[in-house]
């Protein structure tokens, strides 16, 4: 990692984010005619494409939510959401992402201890988020506002639940990742995998910001 950081200091473009290969640097980006990009770029780029497809998946659930928001079947609207719980969830998720960023720094420094600690805290915040969400869902269901009650609640549970399912899958991945770091250290392919994980984890934040806005904030102003 020292080479790119020194390149950063000299003002060069270490990841060749501009077009074409930078002169005197043997690593290409795959842009233009520079030849195949190195594995790190290919892996990260491919995972970005996957994340974009995942964003499209969420967009369908967003669309369904906005279409069905008034289909209440005589039941309640977004007024039933507890914004305090939502604020706590948001805090958990953002802190989790922050710790994930710290873990990236620890990976960069090849510090196994700090990597594992940062990842553990990342996972703890993620788990708290899931618990809070499950608590919210359970509360709604016990009040009789389960997903089968109306199309609006169907859309709400599905959109938020889809995000929750992604976070849960991410936690499973996180645990596997921690085990891999412990067992195999900082091998190149493990670091590539971690790059993908952190992209995934941060992308879930972006989705959550959409949910926070569309479901909880705008929802509160919807009669």
């Amino acid at each position: 990692m020292s080479a790119p950081s020194s390149a950063l200091r000299t003002g060069r473009d270490p990841y060749h984010l501009g077009h074409g290969p930078a002169t005197g640097v043997p690593e290409y980006t795959g842009h233009g005619g520079g030849g195949p990009a190195p594995k790190r770029i290919v892996v990260g780029y491919g995972f970005w494409i996957f994340i974009l497809s995942d964003v499209v998946l969420f967009s369908c659930f967003f669309a369904a939510y906005t279409v069905l928001i008034h289909a209440r079947n005589g039941g309640p609207g977004p007024g039933i959401f507890d914004l305090r719980n939502t604020a706590e969830e948001t805090a958990c998720l953002l802190l989790s992402s922050f710790c994930c960023g710290l873990a990236s720094l620890a990976v960069g420094r090849r510090s196994l201890l700090w990597t594992e600690v940062a990842l553990a805290v990342t996972g703890a915040f993620g788990l708290t988020f899931i618990v809070l969400e499950a608590h919210e869902f359970a509360g709604l269901v016990t009040r009789g506002y389960g997903p089968t009650h109306s199309a609006f609640l169907t859309a709400f549970f599905s959109l938020v639940g889809c995000h929750g399912a992604h976070v849960t899958a991410g936690l499973l991945w996180l645990g596997t990742m921690m085990a891999q770091f412990a067992a195999k250290g900082f091998k190149e392919n493990i670091r590539h995998r971690y790059l993908c994980f952190s992209l995934f984890w941060h992308a879930l934040d972006i989705i959550w910001i959409g949910i926070f806005t569309v479901v909880y904030l705008i929802g509160r102003t919807t009669p």
Binding site: G30, G33, G46, S53, A71, S150, L172, T176, Q180
Partner: protein, 678 residues
């Protein structure tokens, strides 16, 4: 809750002879094939070299084989429908409605998802990395997973033939009919889980190929030097990445409705079935371009090679491809003009649909101008291309007609519509697949297919297609709606008999194609393609041997031109020797074969089957198995294999020698031509 969920003996068609015997027959044939392979001792070879292979060429071939087998299956459905409608005038025919409904649903599902898609993805797998001048796709193991998940979906669809039933709601399960209340059986569940599993495979293919084309190209291959097939593959895969998640989400919603009592599309508690129409076609319309764009790419390659000219209007072709890629997302509503969107919305979508004809027209003219003034060789692939141009133009025109909302109100759901989409899919996608198949077969297997039988197959298909679907336009205009199990309109009868005859002609075409393979394999020794360039091709796939070595190229080619291989050949003739001197051979690292894809697909089938039949413990087992497979794969340390430099040198030197001989022959021919001229 019982141990086997909803699965009982009643799921097996013990009292229905037709599905029972056809199912048993297929099962016995499969057993016989496995036994034969086992007795001959081929299983270890198949396992090592094919089933666990992560080589893009082999995966491509397996995709194509899957598509071919499924084509036979879907075609049997077509024969059943055509013969049913031929006899069902004022009579119930031989297929009861519940069975007829399964047949047309299965026909559509299989032909789109398990024939057209594997054909196109198979050819992309085989050719795109070769044309880009690289050694493999970006994620070889993921590629194998994609293939096996597609095969898993196909297996589930066919399993419904003997265990339970298939969906009876058409190839797209429109709610509220597909909701639990109106379709309580397992048919819709079979459909949904099969498509979910294969859809994930397709999405992974999309991710893989977008990354490959944008990030892995030979040195010097700028975007504006990429072969047209790579451009159309890029466009199709961008569409996959953007559209397939919509399919996953939509079917996911339908499944939630069916399994958990949700209300996305139900007709109670506020559910909205129009939401399904919009979402499914937001995937469905791009899907038809996912199929046709690679076909356009194949025709571009074929027309240019066999006209002996660079593709006319290369840049306009790129613009046309990308324009179609984008506009294809803005026309989905034309699939349901009649469902009450209102005049303004209908007009906008009608105009957008007509606009798509413009870039498509650009392409047709480009192909025509490529042929104009060229030395046209009427080989089998070229015949498919010309047959396509003529037929597809007509299919496109009926499409523009259907894009006019007032006309669509008359033609919606009629056989005119069905004739239109068969016209563009058979004469576009299927002809494209066959053109690519005959064109690239020598690259895949090292020998050329029999031309005489190939041309015969083309003519049978072309004539058969028009005899089968030309009358479809007529009965459609006469008011015949689609999916009729029986009818009592005397005017339709003669046309439906002609359509049945058309299917018989297509059957002859398929039999000719099977004969073509048998004959060609038997006489393969004198059909060998020794140089790797049997058609005098223009792009990099012809710059390596046929079949290519596992690493494709001993040294990555340097691209300096839009038609790199043509450029190399021209210069070689000028200097009288191969352009590139023998490289310094080095050992090459290639990804190791792995059963990950196969094992993942196994667990996917188990999970899908268990979900269909509500066998919850098995669902958990399948999911845990998938996760375990993932971890085992992630844990392996030794994931690449070294091909020694001596081996690389041996393979490459043999090919260089063949090419040198061919070059000298060529030059001698030219010399004698020049001398014989007065």
């Amino acid at each position: 809750m019982t141990l086997l969920g909803k699965l009982t003996w009643q799921a097996f068609p013990l009292r229905e002879p037709l599905p029972l015997f056809s199912g048993l027959g297929v099962f016995l044939i499969l057993i016989a094939i496995v036994l034969w392979t086992w007795r001959k001792g081929h299983i270890p070879y198949l396992w090592r070299e094919w089933i666990t292979s992560v080589d893009h060429k082999r995966i491509g071939i397996m995709y194509f084989m899957l598509g071919s087998v499924m084509l036979l299956r879907g075609f049997i459905d077509a024969i059943m429908m055509r013969s049913q409608q031929a006899v069902a005038y004022r009579s119930p025919g031989f297929l009861p409605p519940s069975h007829f409904d399964q047949v047309f649903s299965a026909h559509g599902t299989i032909m789109i998802f398990f024939v057209a898609m594997p054909f196109m993805i198979g050819l992309m797998n085989l050719i795109v990395p070769l044309q880009l001048g690289v050694r493999d796709v970006a994620f070889p193991t993921l590629n194998s997973v994609s293939f096996w998940l597609t095969a898993a979906g196909a297996l589930l669809v066919n399993l419904s033939l003997v265990v339970g039933q298939f969906d009876r709601t058409g190839w797209l399960p429109y709610p509220p009919l597909s909701e639990l209340r109106y379709s309580p059986g397992v048919g819709v569940d079979y459909y949904c889980w099969a498509i979910q599993i294969s859809g994930i495979g397709t999405l992974m293919t999309g991710v893989n190929f977008v990354t490959t084309i944008l990030k892995l190209r030979a040195p010097g291959m700028h975007y504006t030097r990429m072969p047209m097939f790579c451009w159309t593959a890029l466009a199709a895969n961008l569409l996959i990445v953007a559209a397939f998640p919509v399919l996953t989400a939509t079917l996911g919603m339908l499944l939630l409705d069916r399994y958990a009592g949700f209300h996305f599309f139900t007709d109670s508690a506020g559910g909205n079935s129009m939401l399904f129409m919009n979402l499914i076609w937001a995937w469905g319309h791009p899907e038809v371009y996912i199929l046709i764009l690679p076909a356009f790419g194949i025709f571009s390659e074929v027309v240019s090679t066999f006209s002996g000219k660079p593709l006319f209007g290369y840049r306009s072709m790129i613009y046309a491809t990308m324009a179609i890629c984008i506009i294809s997302f803005m026309v989905w509503l034309h699939h349901f003009f009649t469902m009450g969107a209102g005049a303004t919305v209908n007009s906008i979508f009608g105009i957008a649909s007509m606009i798509i004809a413009i870039p498509t027209g650009v392409k047709i003219f480009n192909w025509l101008f490529t042929m104009y003034g060229g030395t046209v060789r009427l080989t089998t692939p070229m015949l498919w291309a010309i047959g396509f141009m003529v037929s597809f133009a007509i299919g496109g025109m009926t499409g523009v007609l259907l894009a006019v909302p007032p006309a669509d109100f008359q033609l919606h759901n009629s056989l005119f519509l069905v004739a239109h989409f068969h016209n563009v899919i058979i004469a576009g996608v299927v002809f494209g697949a066959f053109a690519g198949y005959t064109y690239w077969f020598p690259k895949a297997f090292g020998f050329v297919l029999d031309e005489r039988l190939g041309k015969l197959a083309f003519w049978l298909w072309l004539v058969g297609f028009w005899v089968a679907w030309g009358p479809g336009y007529v009965v459609g205009l006469e008011g015949m709606t689609r999916r009729l199990q029986s009818y009592d309109v005397a005017e339709w009868r003669p046309w439906l008999l002609v359509m049945a005859a058309g299917v018989a002609i297509i059957l002859l075409g398929i039999l000719t194609q099977i004969a073509q393979i048998v004959v060609s394999v038997r006489t393969r020794e004198r059909r060998r393609d020794l140089t790797g360039d049997p058609w005098d091709g223009r792009n990099l796939e012809w710059a390596t041997s046929s079949p290519p070595p596992p690493f494709n190229f001993a040294a990555l080619p340097n691209v300096a031109d839009q038609e790199p291989y043509w450029d190399m050949k021209t210069r070689a003739r000028e200097i009288g020797q191969l352009v590139r001197p023998e490289p310094q051979y080095e050992a090459i690292l290639m990804p190791r074969n792995t059963p990950t894809g196969f094992v993942t697909a196994f667990f996917a089938v188990v999970t899908g089957f268990a979900l269909i039949w509500h066998i919850w413990w098995l669902v958990i087992l399948g999911l845990v198995g998938s996760y375990a497979t993932f971890v085992v794969f992630a844990w392996r340390d030794h994931d690449e294999e070294l091909i020694p430099a001596a081996e690389v040198a041996r393979l490459d030197r043999a090919n260089r020698a063949a090419r040198t001989t061919r070059l000298q022959e060529r030059m001698a021919e030219r010399q004698s031509e020049r001398e014989s001229r007065p």
